[in-house]
Symmetry: C2
Subunit: 335 residues, 2 copies
DNA sequence: CCCTACCTTGCCAACGATGGCAGAAATTGC
DNA sequence: GCAATTTCTGCCATCGTTGGCAAGGTAGGG
């Protein structure tokens, strides 16, 4: 690859002049600029980012660290949103997936430091709390789908309570009064929050909470859809069965569909179903298409980059911003 | 962040000695080495990859370019396989998704050149031919899921014919003699190859090809599962209906499931179904779990990195290696 | 005791770019 | 026509690291 030196030689000017052309410095004669630009094109020259970084200290690099997220096709849009936003700002994204292994994580962060990233975005598969001390103090960090134990890092998390409420209210709005909820049994923000939202929605509509309508899938969460199938069957066999079911996620809705069909009921006429996550290849393809709550992954990725670069509230009231992103309703045909 | 200079000062040695410690040069006295290592740890020093590159010309960076692939959660394992393999070799992966826009693609390649990537892996969403001239001559390129018009770039593609044959033979092996095939209507390697494999399998078993058993979904490919639903319904309504159906991909199998159920038939007892792609969140979750042909994405990502680094046949018989990867059968419960 | 190795260390140049400064050339104002 | 200003250009140092080379020190052998 050509260097600035060769360009200078071939154009018959000094290196400094070429550098000025590259950086749009106004103090270059038009004729000179044109000549230099022509040579640059001829040689297909591009200035070395590494060398430029040496002088300027601007690496234009952003680290994107994920735990298991990337292994699990769900939240791909998060990466795309971040990548696109970074790209618009002439930054490049490093991608590293750690498999949630703390040792790998440390090495990954070190590797990113080696490459002088301007900051690190850390995104988790499941909404959870993370430990602040695993991140270095001297690099900006933005958390996605998780938050620091001491809230000392800016973070972006989905509004689980709002989402749970929205899902439930969507069903209540259609006149349903017996709304089942198939949740997962874990003390994490997602199941707890969506549960809270479910209860809020019932309260808003003046409907008493009925614990019999709420079922929990126990760990391990293998074969989620199958476990949900069993849950929903038992819900539908109740004396006073639900006419609508809120599933913790779209994969589980798949199991719910099977259970409803097995019971010779129709969706949405006899039983309405609503999911969560908006996994397109599931939700848009099953029949009838699944109405669901979207995890706004693209937007979260986008915001993460903007916060990292200081464009958006990485600081709120003098403390690291803790952002809650609304989860919108995606209307399809299952309600 | 600390630099090598500060480490040297604090340890009371020259910069060169610190460099020697960093690079495991044997000519360092044990006492000195220990002292330097202690200071390195104290200052949490890490050598700058950019500066190191300046001297050595080794950037340790690999570009990973995708067209639409990354937007579509299918082939995530490809990226993970590449990332993990790169990581084992102390390399970092740049990820860029171009959305198949040639303008964006050019810019992406330029950005990667700016950062002195040691090579570029270009992966496409669909198996297809690409134009050689869009890539620079002076950087190693490995193609995944695509191949150059003039075969002048090493490439890795799935063996579509073998996969189609394997899928069909799996069904024939179970005693099925009327095997339907729901394909997509496109002049691309995947549908053409799988079709060829289907015919080969029939021939191997001495079963005459019946065009009535093969259906094509026309473009646009929106709502693939729904279109497949209609196709499969009409297949099952034939006088001599198929007892097994090979679906071009897993999403389409979802539609096939619905059609079979609609016809009051059981899977796999009355109708066996086999898919293609092994999209886990679909195939493993639906009921019964889908038997399918796997696109070995992880392995393809892995091989791509190894080829790029010259570890594996990037050259075969003096020409760029064109690798065909076998697609293995994943047995679940639908056959 | 000296010579020869080898071990250990440090100095300097270099990678490819940009910033500061100074000098040369061109332009302006009187 | 000359000084003052503006425009344009080039030289040198610098970023953080490693390679080449040389020099000082230590030990071993004769």
């Amino acid at each position: 690859m050509a260097t600035i030196k060769e360009v200078a030689q071939r154009a018959g000017v000094s290196i400094r002049t070429v550098s000025r052309v590259l950086n749009d410095n106004p103090y270059v004669a038009d004729a000179t600029r044109e000549c230099v630009l022509r040579v640059i094109q001829e040689l297909d020259f591009r200035p070395s980012a590494a060398a430029r970084y040496m002088r300027t200290g601007q690496s234009q690099l952003i680290g994107f660290l994920t735990d298991e997220l990337a292994q699990n096709a769900f939240s791909y849009d998060l990466i795309i949103g971040a990548q696109q936003t970074a790209w618009e700002r002439q930054k490049l994204l490093f991608l590293l997936n750690t498999g949630n292994d703390p040792h790998v994580e440390r090495r990954a962060i070190n590797m990113m430091r080696d490459h002088q990233v301007e900051g690190i975005i850390y995104a988790t598969m499941y909404h959870r709390e993370i430990i602040r001390s695993q991140f270095p103090e001297d690099i900006p960090v933005v958390l996605v789908n998780c938050f620091a134990d001491d809230r000392s890092l800016p973070s972006i998390v989905p509004d689980e309570i709002g989402g749970g409420r929205l899902a439930t209210e969507t069903l209540l709005n259609q006149g349903h009064r017996r709304v089942g909820f198939v949740n997962v049994a874990a003390q994490e923000p997602a199941p707890l929050g969506r549960m809270a939202g479910y209860r809020q929605a019932l309260a808003n509509y003046g409907i008493p909470f009925d614990a019999a309508l709420v079922r929990f899938i126990e760990e391990p969460f293998e074969g989620l859809a199958t476990s949900t199938y069993d849950c929903v069957l038992s819900l539908l066999e109740m004396d006073d069965p639900p006419t609508a079911i809120f599933c913790f996620n779209d994969m589980m809705a798949l199991g719910a569909y099977d259970a409803v069909r097995k019971s010779n009921l129709r969706i949405p006429e006899d039983v309405a179903i609503i999911g969560y996550d908006n996994v397109e290849i599931l939700a848009a393809q099953i029949h009838p298409p699944l109405t669901t709550i979207e995890l706004p992954n693209f937007e979260m990725g986008r915001l993460a980059v903007r916060m990292l670069l200081g464009e958006a509230g990485s600081i709120q009231d003098g403390r690291p911003g803790q952002h809650m992103i609304e989860c919108p309703l995606i209307v399809r045909g299952s309600v």
